[in-house]
Structure formats: structure tokens, C-alpha cells
Amino acid sequence: MSILKVEQLVCGYHPKYPVIKGLSFSVEDGQFVGVVGPNGSGKTTLLRALIGMVTRSQGSIYVSQYRLENLDRRDLARRIALVPQLMEPVEGFSVEELIMLGRTPYFDRLKFDDKRDRAAVRWAIRELKLQDLKDRPVAELSGGEFQRVAIARALAQQPKVMLLDEPTSHLDIRYQVRICKLLRKLRSRRSIIATFHDLNLASRYCSRLILLKDGELVAAGSPENVVTPENIWKAYRLKVTVRSNPRTRKAKYVLLP
């Protein structure tokens, strides 16, 4: 059963100017979906719509079997977590304290971090190998370290779907690969939807790609079916040739001179 289903979605920040113009797709459990497309194609807006932050004018979104609008905020927060493009490091918080904020949807008025919450935080710290950093002030971390903390915070929410807005865009190439490998590993018991600018990176690590242009679907499917010269021409107006990596058999575009 699909964990997330989007049907004929039309949404945007102003009813007259929709950013997403009639998009349908579904995400299965355990998929790592990369959303790619040029700037302004609606990648971020799509992620925000999936978590109910953008008003829909048409279409529907299903999370598990529920319609998005029928889930209350806390139920939604226990099912979908967002890692924003730039999260603010909270001054004065340690890594562990920041990750504990991810447990907010499980807190009650006067019941805070109980045994289960602490176990979830410990687990998220282990998954992202943050044990050595857990007592460090978040304000002192490097960009790559902080991105891992941001992902751990979302993971502590124990969501079924994790959304990440350009998780690799501020990182060096070593960290880009590290984060992608991590996400690929994490998808096993949840699905992951992430936007990417780097098509090759997305094609190498994602199990599925969704290519957008101007809020419409150009192509969706496995990376080798999406990353083709025709699709890239349609989306970016760039002439490329596509080669397959001999070892991974993943599609990879190369700019033509």
C-alpha cells in the first residue's frame, strides 16, 4: 500500500498563481524518492504541501489511508517530518537537547521526555553516529555535522515519511555522499522524499526520481528512465549525453561542450 498518495494536486501561495499545477504520484514504503527540477519548478513547494504548509486549491493528498486534512496536527507530525533547507541552530542547546525537540508531537502538557522519548533520541543519535557530538553545543557544529543533527531530529519524530529540502546543498562533496548513503540506509523502514539540485547525486542514490518543470511532471520513475537527454532537455533546456556508470549501472548525465 502506498504510504503517500498525491492526486491532481494544485497549490501555491496565491490562488491565481498556482506553483504546482496538477501533480499526481504515489510513494511506497521504503522508497527513497528524489524530487529534481530547475529552480522555481516547485520542488520546495511540493514538500511544503505534503506537510500541510501550503494551501491546496485542488486535488488531494493521502497519508497512509487518511486524507491530509483529516489528520490533526499532532497525528500528522507523528507521520511526516521535515528537514528544512536551513534549520536554525538554537543557541544554548546541546545536540541531544535539539534532537529531543523532535519528540514534541509525543509530549503531553505536563509529561515531557519519558523513557520512550529518551530511547527514541538515543536511537536517532546512534543511527546518525552522533554519539561523540551529543553533548556539544549545536552552535559550534560544522555545516555537515549540523545537517546530521537536523536529520536526527526529524528521525526522533519516528515518522513514516521523512521530507528533506535540499539536504546536500550546503555540504562538501564528501558530506553530500555521506548524507545520501545515510538516507538510502534510513529508507528501509520509512520512505524518504528529498529535493536535489545535483541530478547525478540523486540518480546515484535515489530509488525513484520525480522530475518537475513549472509545477508539472516531466518524468517519474527509476533514475535510468528519468535521467535521459530528452527529459533533461525538456526540463532544463540543456543538451547532455547520458552514460551509465559501469559499476552501479546508474544513469549519469554529462554536459555536452
Binding site: 496536527r73 499532532r74 507530525a77 543557541e91 542547546f93
Partner: protein, 327 residues
């Protein structure tokens, strides 16, 4: 910058503050413009009828203003927010000035009209600011702060006009400086419920205030109804501040420095921040009021002057510490 305290140390700090508060509370009863022999302290009418309610009132006002500061800095996500940022001081000043110039002696339901007018006008000011800042069904923190600044400017003009027309400069000016000289058991009983209930509600919302540390959008993804929480907490902070302003006038800096100091000490977790800021606010206010009563005795210095004299340099010190490079 030294490392902030861990959780156990923070609760220890809570205990130390609690003991400090009790000590300061008792000691402050000994000081005043009339010297009373320690052994006669408990029989003295002055202690029971004047000093005790005054010290309690000082503590309550310290709590009200510090917690309002904690709330507003949290929901407006602005470290410079203080209890007066949304126009409370300006509204309260206009209300008090109106009541004073119409003859402060008017008594409504057994209370002087000055605190009642100050209370009502404070809340009216926040209401106007909130309405002005509401654009398209939502209120952005920046718009709220700017609307507060605009309304405050407007109110100062009205205040100046009232002073000139009524010729009551001295009385109004003294009210503006803030003082606990009018403290009475009646005041204590009026203000205490605001402090106790307010503190309870704020503590109830510590989860929301913590989530807001990540920003409004992230708080929303954590299941928080940001707009609703902001409205509730602004109302709570405003009523708490208005209660303080109505009996003590405008006392600055408590709501600004106490939250900052406590955050530096124990970090921004509101579950610890709220109780420790409450105690610190009470402690600071009782100390400042004792100074106000005794420094130039028998002349009494308005506590607002003391707070600004201590508060402004201390605030600068905190800022410099925050910026200091190091571990």
C-alpha cells in the same frame, strides 16, 4: 563563555535561588526608612502593614515582568522583546495620566482609579497593536513589533498632551518612573492571582515555547498551532504585565535582563527557564526595592530608576559575554 549548567545543576540552581529568595525576603523586612530593633520586628505595625506587603508585591511584580519577558521573547522570537514591546507601557501611561489628571482620588469599587485605568489602557494598547498587525489572517512577529513601536510613539504624544493640558507633571512623572511606594495588602491580593495563574499557564506552554525555538514553520511541523499559541501567550503576557504596571508603574529592564541572564546560565529549555526566571525575577525585584527604600533614606528613589541604573550596564555586560569568543 562558561559552559551552561546541566539539568541536575539547573535544579540545584533552583534550590539555591529559592533559599536566596527566602533569605532576601526576610532580610529586606529589616530595612526601611524607620529603623526597627530586630527583636521588635514581629510586633511592629510598620513591618506588618507596610514592609511585608511591599516586599511580597515586589516579588510578585518581579515574577510577572520576568515571565512576560520570557513569553514575548519566545513567541516573537526576538531577544530584544520585553514586556512593554507591544505598547503596554505606552497604553498604561496614557491611562494612568488620564486618571491622575482627572483627580487620582476617584475611587471605583474600593480601588483607586489610577491602577484600573492603567490596566484597561495597557490591554487596549496591545489589542490595537494585535489588530493592526493582523494581515491576511496571520500576524507576523516583525509586524507586531513594528505596530507596537508605532502605537507607542502615538501614545507618547497623547501623554505629553495630557501632561501639558492638566499640569500634573510631577505626579504623572513619578508614576512613569515606577514605584512600589503605594504597596498595600489590597494590591498584593489583587496582583497575586495574575502571578500565580499566569505562571501556571506559561509553564503549561513550555513545550510550545521550546518548539518555537526552531522557528515558526518547524514548530508547525511538530504539531503546534503557532497562530493560536501566539495569541494565547500574548494575551497571557499582556494581562500579566498590565497587572504589574497598574500597581507599580513602568519598571524597565526586569523583563529583559532576567530571561537573558537565566538563558545564559541554563540554556533556552523553557521547562527550566520558566521556574528559574520566576525566582530570579522575584529576587532581583526585592533587592532593587530594598535599595530603593534605603539608599537615600528617608528619601525614596523610584524603583524604576534603580532597575535602569543596574539593568542597563548589566544588559551590556550580558551582550558582551554572549559575543565573547571562546569555548
Amino acid at each position: 563563555m562558561n559552559k551552561k549548567l546541566n539539568k541536575r545543576q539547573a535544579w540545584l540552581a533552583f534550590l539555591v535561588l529559592m533559599l536566596g529568595l527566602i533569605a532576601v525576603f526576610i532580610l529586606s523586612l529589616f530595612f526601611g526608612s524607620v529603623s526597627i530593633a530586630p527583636e521588635k520586628l514581629w510586633q511592629s505595625e510598620i513591618v506588618w502593614q507596610i514592609r511585608l506587603p511591599r516586599v511580597i508585591l515586589a516579588g510578585l511584580i518581579g515574577l510577572l515582568l520576568s515571565l512576560s519577558g520570557v513569553i514575548l521573547q519566545g513567541v516573537l522570537r526576538n531577544p530584544l522583546a520585553d514586556p512593554y514591546i507591544l505598547g503596554i507601557s505606552a497604553g498604561g501611561a496614557v491611562g494612568a495620566a488620564l486618571a491622575i489628571s482627572m483627580g487620582g482620588g476617584i475611587v471605583v469599587l474600593g480601588m483607586s482609579s489610577v491602577p484600573i485605568a492603567a490596566f484597561i489602557f495597557s490591554l487596549l494598547a496591545v489589542f490595537i497593536v494585535y489588530k493592526l498587525a493582523k494581515v491576511g489572517g496571520r500576524t507576523a512577529p516583525e509586524t507586531l513589533i513594528l505596530a507596537g513601536v508605532a502605537l507607542s510613539a502615538f501614545c507618547s504624544a497623547i501623554l505629553a498632551l495630557i501632561i501639558i493640558v492638566s499640569g500634573n507633571l510631577q505626579t504623572i512623572y513619578f508614576w512613569l518612573l515606577g514605584s512600589l511606594a503605594w504597596a498595600s495588602w489590597g494590591n498584593v491580593i489583587t496582583v497575586a492571582p495574575y502571578a500565580l495563574i499566569g505562571a501556571g499557564i506559561v509553564y503549561f506552554y513550555s513545550k510550545e515555547l521550546n518548539a518555537l525555538l526552531l522557528g515558526e514553520e518547524m514548530a508547525a511541523t511538530l504539531g503546534i498551532d503557532v497562530e493560536q499559541v501566539r495569541l494565547i501567550l500574548i494575551v497571557v503576557a499582556s494581562v500579566m504585565t498590565a497587572a504589574a504596571v497598574s500597581v507599580a508603574g513602568l519598571i524597565g529592564f526586569v523583563g529583559l535582563i532576567v530571561p537573558h541572564w537565566v538563558r545564559l546560565l541554563i540554556g533556552p529549555n523553557h521547562r527550566l527557564l520558566i521556574p528559574i526566571a520566576s525566582l530570579s525575577g522575584m529576587l532581583l525585584m526585592i533587592l532593587a526595592d530594598t535599595l530603593a527604600r534605603t539608599m537615600l533614606a528617608p528619601l525614596e528613589i523610584p524603583i524604576g530608576i534603580i532597575m535602569s541604573l543596574i539593568g542597563a550596564p548589566f544588559f551590556l555586560y550580558l551582550l558582551r559575554r554572549r559575543r565573547a569568543p571562546g569555548k
